[in-house]
Each structure stands twice: as structure tokens, then as C-alpha cells.
């Protein structure tokens, strides 16, 4: 069996060893909120902690991405993929990613390769190895990953750590990249015994019983479709501030705007894309003043329908992974679970 055993006290050693060979990104306390950042020592890592404010989406689809440099009269000078650090050979290891965020990023993987392969997202994504850390119980009150079937991803990670007994973890590879990491540091791992495997199996069974479903997603798309005119949309539209926070912290929100910035020499410039939000008024408005989603209610509703109807239908994956971030960071205390239940509950 290729899985290994690692003790809790060896985990910092593993992280420090990887820092020698990879760019390592983990959740730290930078800016006093849990934040994914590149680390230079295992001391910075918040190991048993809540979700980072922004998921791993920011590593592959950054809030701002330079696309290319141009000369205003002669055109493209160079794609930004060809320069800067994006092109470097060194792999990134993202350490300690929760199952819901792995599942959430699988949604972005689908979107950024559909029809046309987005060169920026995919180059960054292909360069990353993801080490997941299994959740054995809901991590906080806003989590509803079980409802969204997101806490047991089958793909989208390279290694998964599961704590099978106090201070011992089974580490299971899911890809060749994961196996390579295990082979790189043989001294840090032990061979698991039969007893360890039994514990692992039991742990996973216990895990199943520790989660309950808050909402039922079976049949949800067609139910929401029928409730297109529900009064509940109006009620929540009134409460919403349209600040866009929920979209920025959501691991499956990805929409962006594209802008040209002219340099100080006035001759050259750079085209950039940056995160946008379908909650902003200009999102669907076109030249001449026509706005395809002018009423606030339409804007409010679109995000929900996109997550709970459109993404599942189009990509065959859940569009919400139940991470609860939009609940945590909403200044108006809007809870996605309440919205969905109120809408479907209305006669």
C-alpha cells in the first residue's frame, strides 16, 4: 500500500522539508485573518484552524491578473505568462486544504477548461500540488458541506491527511505527484500497520455520522426554477447591501472584468483582469444604457440560480460547496441556507 503514517510532531518537519524543494503555501495569520500565503517556515502555519478567508481559487485565479503588455500603436508586446514568476519551473505545494475547498476548486477547473483552455488559470493550476486535510466533523456553525456533498472529493488533490488517532495521521496519495512527495521524504513517514488501517476505516465511518444535512439538494434546481417569482427573493433583496463580499469569498465565484491600464510613458500599457461581482450594478449593462439585470431583485436572484441551477446543470457539479463563507462575511447577516429554504418553502 502506498499510503503512509505520519505523526503530528513530524508534520512541521514535512512542511519545512517541502519549503526546501517547493514554493509552499499554507493558511497563516497574516493580516490577522486566516490567509493563504507563501510561507518560509512551518511556524507560520495555522494547522487546526478555520477556513482561510479566500479559498485556493486566489492562487489560480488571482484577484488581479496581468494578461499582456501592449504598445498602443503596434499591439501586443508579450503575454504576462511568458515572464514573471508564473512560468518558473518550481512547483507550488498548497498545504492543508479542506475538502470543501478542494471540491470548490474542481468547479473552477471545469469552467476554465470548457471549450477554450484559459492559459492563465490552467498554467497556475497545473503547477500546484494540493495536500488536503480531512475534516472529521463540521468545522464551524456556518458549514453545511454535507448538504452539498463536498466533504469527500474524489479528485482535485494530490495527498490527503486524515487523523486516525490522537497525533497520528494517515496520508493517502491520490496522484503521481502525491506519491512523489511521499517518496521524497521517506524518513518522515512510517508504514501503517493493519491496525492503523482499521482505525482509518473506522475514522471515515465515524466521519460520515458526524455530519448532518441542513438542506436537501436533491431536486433543488427544478424546485427553485418553479419559485422564480417567489416573494422571498424580494424580502432578501431588501436586506442585501450589494457589497459583493459574498461573491469574493465564495470558492466557486469566478467572474471577472477586463481593463487596460496605460503606463506613465503613455505609449505602452497592460491588460488586466480582476474579480467582478454579479451583484454590482454595471455587471450586465451595455452601451446606450440598457441593463439586462437592472432590478436589484434580478441581480440578487441570479447568483443563487447560477449556483444552485446553472452550474449543476452545465458542469454536472454542485455550484455551492457549503463552506459558509458567504454567511460569515455578510454584513447584512444573510444566510444562504435560509434564502434557499425560504424560497422553496413558499407556496
Amino acid at each position: 500500500m502506498v499510503s503512509k503514517l505520519i505523526s503530528r510532531k513530524k508534520i512541521p518537519e514535512l512542511v519545512d522539508a517541502m519549503i526546501g524543494d517547493f514554493i509552499v503555501v499554507a493558511t497563516t495569520n497574516k493580516n490577522n485573518v486566516p490567509t493563504l500565503t507563501e510561507i518560509s517556515s512551518s511556524d507560520e502555519v495555522l494547522f487546526d484552524t478555520e477556513l482561510p478567508m479566500i479559498s485556493i481559487k486566489k492562487l489560480f485565479h488571482p484577484a488581479k491578473q496581468d494578461l499582456f503588455k501592449f504598445n498602443r500603436t503596434t499591439g501586443v508586446i508579450k503575454s504576462c505568462l511568458e515572464e514573471s514568476d508564473i512560468g518558473v519551473e518550481k512547483k507550488i505545494v498548497v498545504f492543508g486544504v479542506r475538502p470543501c475547498d478542494i471540491t470548490g476548486n474542481n468547479v473552477l477547473d471545469e469552467i476554465f477548461k470548457e471549450y477554450f483552455r484559459d492559459e492563465f488559470y490552467n498554467t497556475l493550476r497545473e503547477r500546484a500540488l494540493i495536500i488536503g486535510i480531512n475534516c472529521l466533523q463540521p468545522c464551524y456553525e456556518n458549514c453545511f458541506c454535507e448538504s452539498m456533498n463536498s466533504n469527500d472529493p474524489k479528485s482535485g488533490y494530490d495527498l490527503m491527511l486524515t487523523e486516525i488517532a490522537k497525533d497520528n495521521f494517515i496520508i493517502v496519495p491520490n496522484t503521481d505527484g502525491g506519491k512523489r512527495i511521499l517518496r521524497l521524504y521517506p524518513d518522515l513517514f512510517q508504514e501503517p500497520t493493519d491496525e492503523d488501517f482499521e482505525k482509518y476505516v473506522r475514522t471515515l465511518e465515524l466521519k460520515k455520522n458526524s455530519f448532518k444535512k441542513d438542506i436537501l439538494v436533491e431536486g433543488l434546481p427544478s424546485e427553485l426554477e418553479d419559485k422564480f417569482e417567489s416573494r422571498a427573493w424580494k424580502k432578501y433583496t431588501k436586506e442585501c447591501l450589494f457589497c459583493g463580499s459574498c461573491t469574493f469569498v465564495c470558492p466557486t465565484c469566478y467572474c471577472f472584468n477586463v481593463k487596460d491600464k496605460i503606463s506613465i510613458d503613455l505609449k505602452t500599457g497592460i491588460r488586466q483582469r480582476e474579480w467582478d461581482s454579479c451583484y454590482y450594478p454595471e455587471f450586465a449593462s451595455v452601451a446606450g444604457g440598457h441593463d439586462f439585470r437592472h432590478e436589484k431583485e434580478r441581480r440578487f436572484r441570479y447568483r443563487y440560480l447560477h449556483k444552485f441551477i446553472d452550474i449543476p446543470r452545465r458542469y454536472n457539479v454542485e455550484g455551492c460547496v457549503g463552506c459558509g463563507r458567504c454567511i460569515t462575511y455578510c454584513p447584512a447577516d444573510i444566510d444562504v441556507r435560509d434564502v434557499v429554504e425560504d424560497v422553496r418553502g413558499e407556496m
Partner: protein, 286 residues
């Protein structure tokens, strides 16, 4: 057919094209003829009528513009552009010989090649004429492949009428039924029809065979509702009515989400949809 020649450096990176000709169509609309600077791209560039390209004015931005020349025109292509905002204004300031960026062609286009032998009914209003021109000029160039061609065109006023000299040609042809109308004629210089485009249906109604006719529509959002009513009165099936939708676009390739309508993206699943498809998409027509 989805011939994409312009993304070998990545889908976000345009290819340079040179403006080889500019013609003023109306006070606010110009026709630009373009050729790629890398000469080998020119013979490779193919499009389905109804597809669009993303046009970059470096330093200002990028906009979706339909290819208005038919696929039968090779070696260069034409864009008709109305000056309505930042990027389109910057395009209007460009001169012959200037460089713009091109990505595409994108979108599905009208499936005209699938309808050989059918009668074709084109309905267009305003700027919708430009995308549709690519389709009906293709059909006219391949007239032997198609039955009767009906072309109904409405615009705001006589001076907004696009390609009047080409329209005159259609007018005198036996095998094309061309009907044109304007909403108003303040200068009293117009001898043709007055009123909205739906008025023109009465002129062709008795010649339409609903079982052998494919309708293709492109115009402002407001026009669709009324045109659909007329087409249904004629007895056309929802699968035989094709409409091109307009939405805000930023990427053109199904990533930025600006053009989302239900579970479809207008840029990659459209811009052309059948009426039957549109009926299942919330907020598609308005």
C-alpha cells in the same frame, strides 16, 4: 465548424490586424475592412455567419463585434461599428493603416449551412442588420442552394439605413423579396414604408410556407417580442426560428460570466439560439 486561428498564444491574447479600408455607412457607423498583420493568418481565417470577434483598441479596451462580411469573402473581413461608447469611439478615430487587436471568431453563428433547400426569412432592425448581413449575403452568394429569400429590415430614419446601395440591388432582384421601413421620416425624403418592422409581415405573409421556412432574426431586444408574435402567426415552429442575443461581454470565451443567461453563455453557446431554447432560459428576452 469552429475555426479559431487567433489563439495560438493563449485565448486572452489578440492578434494584430491592419485596417485596410474604412467607409462611412451613416453618421455614427463605419465599415472597417481588416487583414491580419501576420499574412499566413488571412487564408486561415474562416467564420460561420453570425459569429463575432473581440476587437481591441490597446489602452482603451475590447468589444465584441459581429463579422458583417459573408464567409464567401476570403482574405480579409469587414466589421460595421457604431460609435456608442469608449472603445467604439476609439475605433472610429482610427485611420487606414492603423492596428487593432482581434480575437476569435467566437460564438456559434447561424446554422445556415444545415438548411439547404429551405426558404429563408431574415428579420432585422437597426444595427442587427450588420451580423445578419453576413448570413444573407452568404445565402445570396449560394443562391442555388436555397429557396426564396425574404429580407425585412426596419431602422429609425432614412439616414440610418445601412448599405442602401446593396439594398437597391436586392430590391430589383426577382429571387429576393426585400422590404424596408423606417420609424420616422422627419426630413420627408423617404418614399418607402413607414412604421415598425412588424408592419412588413403583411406584405409577405401569403408567400411564406411555414413548413419550409427558416427565420433568422437580429435586432434590438425590444424588437424580438413583436417579431416572435408575427412568426408564430405565420405558423413557424420554435425550432425554425433563430435569434441572435446581445449581452455584455468581457472575455468572449465563457469565463467571465458577464453574458450569462440561465445556464447558457451567450458568447459560447450563442449568440444564436432557437426560439425553443430561449423559452427555457429565464430573462432571455426583455
Amino acid at each position: 465548424m469552429r475555426a479559431i486561428v487567433t489563439h495560438d498564444r493563449g485565448i486572452s491574447i489578440p492578434h494584430e490586424a491592419k485596417i485596410v479600408n474604412i467607409r462611412e455607412l451613416t453618421d455614427t457607423t463605419k465599415l472597417f475592412e481588416l487583414k491580419f498583420v501576420q499574412n499566413h493568418l488571412n487564408p486561415l481565417f474562416e467564420h460561420v455567419p453570425g459569429q463575432f470577434v473581440e476587437v481591441s483598441i490597446y489602452g482603451i479596451g475590447e468589444v465584441p463585434i459581429s463579422i458583417t462580411s459573408p464567409p464567401t469573402k476570403r482574405g480579409s473581413f469587414e466589421l460595421g461599428i457604431r460609435n456608442v461608447g469608449n472603445v467604439t469611439n476609439a475605433i472610429h478615430n482610427k485611420k487606414k493603416g492603423d492596428i487593432v487587436g482581434i480575437r476569435g471568431p467566437f460564438g456559434n453563428g447561424f446554422p445556415i449551412a444545415d438548411y439547404k433547400g429551405k426558404d429563408l426569412l431574415f428579420v432585422t432592425g437597426g444595427l442587427g442588420y450588420l451580423p445578419l448581413r453576413s448570413v444573407f449575403r452568404y445565402a445570396i452568394d449560394k443562391k442555388e442552394d436555397y429557396g426564396k429569400i425574404f429580407l425585412l429590415y426596419g431602422d429609425r430614419c432614412p439616414s440610418d439605413i445601412l448599405f442602401p446601395e446593396e439594398n437597391d440591388e436586392y430590391e430589383v432582384r426577382e429571387d429576393i423579396d426585400f422590404q424596408c421601413t423606417v420609424d420616422r421620416d422627419d426630413d420627408r425624403c423617404w418614399e418607402g414604408n413607414l412604421g415598425v418592422v412588424t408592419n412588413l409581415f403583411s406584405k409577405i405573409a401569403d408567400q411564406i410556407d411555414p413548413n419550409n421556412t427558416i427565420a433568422m432574426i437580429c435586432g434590438p431586444p425590444i424588437m424580438y417580442k413583436f417579431v416572435i408574435i408575427e412568426l408564430e402567426k405565420l405558423g413557424l415552429d420554435g425550432d425554425h426560428i433563430y435569434l441572435s442575443l446581445e449581452r455584455k461581454m468581457k472575455c468572449g470565451v465563457g469565463k467571465c460570466c458577464h453574458c450569462g443567461v440561465g445556464d447558457k453563455f451567450v458568447c459560447i453557446d450563442g449568440p444564436v439560439f432557437t426560439l425553443r431554447q430561449i423559452r427555457t432560459l429565464p430573462e432571455a428576452l426583455m
